[in-house]
């Protein structure tokens, strides 16, 4: 057994119009790590994710799931997609069904589960994303944030081993962002692998165990949040800013108010004072 759940070796990808979206990406994602991928618009995050469950096929290079190379045959891909779920960046590309309930049931139905099991999973996914009241609403009458939550429920209901979230917190209000973080936490405790992309450096800093920084189709940096977000050269290169918490920490430290320990969230910062 490989110690990596997902792995990529020298992956190149080019869109049909000639845009080189990935240029020689190599990355390995360790099991049970909370992974965040950060990078500016057009860095290639979404393109990268679509390689992880075989939707896009690299022009060059290889992708591995649990040490096994992905083969682009129907049966292999079906099996892979049962295990690796993606919540798309734009919920409109994902939602198709008339009602929310049907929408969420689509994935589990494809897993050939017994109907009562499908129902249980749908109910549970709706509950954890706070979309129960929207159950019988048609998907086209939802607000954007609601659509986003339904698209998350879509994939949760399939209970895959790896869940990839492309910009999960975009459009969400603070309350639902908080709820989503709870979902991530729970998934992590259940032993699932959570991978997300985000523009929110504060979120990436306080949530992730390991961070990949992308820029123009290349991984320009990687490491623990502490390493990545204190590397000003790297941040500048990738057009990112330092997390607010670290700014404050640096300022307070300069004035001699703080101890050595790097705070991961506001509470830890206050404790250190």
């Amino acid at each position: 057994m490989s110690k990596y759940i997902l792995e990529m070796k020298d992956v190149d990808f080019e869109y049909p119009d000639g845009t080189k979206a990935l240029k020689g990406i190599s990355m390995a994602i360790e099991k049970r790590r909370k992974i965040a991928v950060v990078g500016s618009n057009g860095a290639g995050k979404s393109t990268l994710f679509l390689h992880f469950n075989g939707i896009l096929r690299p022009r060059r290079g290889k992708v591995f799931y649990k040490g096994e190379e992905i083969r682009y045959t129907r049966s292999f891909l079906t099996e892979l997609r049962k295990n690796v779920g993606i919540v798309f960046q734009d919920p409109d590309t994902q939602l198709f069904a008339g009602s929310v309930f049907q929408e969420v049931s689509f994935g589990p139905m494809n897993l050939n589960l017994p109907l009562h099991e499908v129902k249980r999973r749908v109910e549970e996914a709706l509950k954890s994303t706070g979309t129960e009241e929207l159950k019988s609403k048609p998907t086209h009458f939802l607000s954007y944030g609601q659509k986003k939550r339904v698209s998350i429920a879509d994939v949760l209901a399939m209970e895959p081993e790896v869940i990839i979230f492309d910009e999960p917190t975009a459009y969400l209000d603070p309350k639902h962002t908080e709820k989503l973080l709870e979902i991530f936490e729970r998934l992590h405790e259940e032993g699932k692998q959570v991978i997300l992309s985000t523009h929110d450096v504060d979120l990436a800093y306080s949530w992730a165990d390991y961070v990949f920084v992308m820029k123009d189709g290349i991984v320009v940096g990687r490491g623990t949040p502490g390493e990545v977000f204190q590397n000003d050269g790297l941040l500048e290169e990738a057009d990112l800013r330092r997390p607010l918490l670290l700014e404050v920490y640096a300022a307070l430290r300069q004035k001699g108010f703080l101890s050595e320990k790097l705070p991961r969230n506001v509470n830890e910062l206050i404790e250190g004072l």
Binding site: I55, D92, F96, G98, Q102, M109, N110, H140, M158
Partner: protein
């Protein structure tokens, strides 16, 4: 005011869609009997059920009913006004070049009957579309053995209709707010842009949707869980009584217009 809204919010939404479909279809079938009383009673019954049972505002139903009015009126005119010959008893006649055209008692009768029949059938149709969502309707059709491919097409077309509408609206608003329709010339230009980008966008959306469906294990069949409804004996009984009454009315008042 989207009709579709009512299909999801009306008070009859939890009634078994099969019952609603049966009511609409049987009433429609009876509505084909050429009998003015039957037509009027059908319109009345549907109006009452929609307004008092389903809670659809009367204003909305009236507005919908008169939507096809002008179209219908022109259609009826061509039936009412006919070329007439010497022997006909015309109610009204006039000469166009060498032919004389006019309205006879029979044509008036036929036109009137058609007019009310159309309204009766349209109201049956409105009953279905105002109380039953496409999603529920498809479930019933599936039970009746309609091939899956048709139903899936229906499902996707339904969804894309809204995506298309939303996109068109968004593009339109964005064009308006940048003065895209301030003069005739820019209006034509903007409209052209809207149509062409709408279709390229729709095509792209369809492609993306396919990708997203595949990501969730799509294998050529859209399986979703059906809603749960209870069959109500009371409703079935009421439907049967209503339809029988309509049939009796049709038989007792004869098949013609007086």
């Amino acid at each position: 005011m989207l009709i579709d809204n009512y299909a999801y919010t009306n008070k009859l939404r939890n009634v078994h869609p099969g019952e609603k479909l049966a009511f609409a279809l049987i009433t429609m079938a009876i509505g084909f009997i050429p009998n003015l009383y039957v037509h009027l009673v059908i319109i009345f019954i549907i109006a009452v059920v929609l307004v008092f049972k389903a809670g659809i505002p009367a204003r909305v139903f009236c507005k919908l009913l008169f939507l096809p009015f002008s179209f219908l009126f022109i259609g009826i005119l061509t039936i009412v006004i006919n070329p007439i010959t010497e022997g006909d008893k015309a109610v009204m006649a006039f000469k166009v070049f060498n032919a004389s055209v006019g309205i006879t008692q029979e044509s008036l009768r036929a036109g009137g009957l058609l007019f009310f029949r159309t309204f009766a059938l349209i109201s049956c149709f409105y009953f279905l579309s105002l109380t039953t969502s496409v999603v529920d309707l498809m479930m019933v059709l599936k039970r009746f053995g309609v091939p899956a491919i048709f139903l899936e097409l229906m499902h996707l077309i339904y969804r894309f209709l809204f995506v298309l509408m939303e996109t068109a609206e968004r593009i339109y608003i964005s064009q308006c707010s940048r003065l895209g329709y301030s003069s005739l010339k820019t209006s034509f230009y903007s409209l052209g842009m809207l149509t062409s980008s709408l279709f390229t966008k729709a095509y792209r959306d369809a492609e993306m949707l396919h990708v997203a469906l595949e990501a969730r294990g799509y294998d050529g069949e859209l399986n979703v869980l059906e809603g749960e409804y209870c069959v109500s004996i009371k409703n079935i009984f009421l439907i049967m009584v209503t339809e029988t009454m309509l049939l009796l009315l049709a038989l007792n008042t004869g098949g013609s217009f007086r």
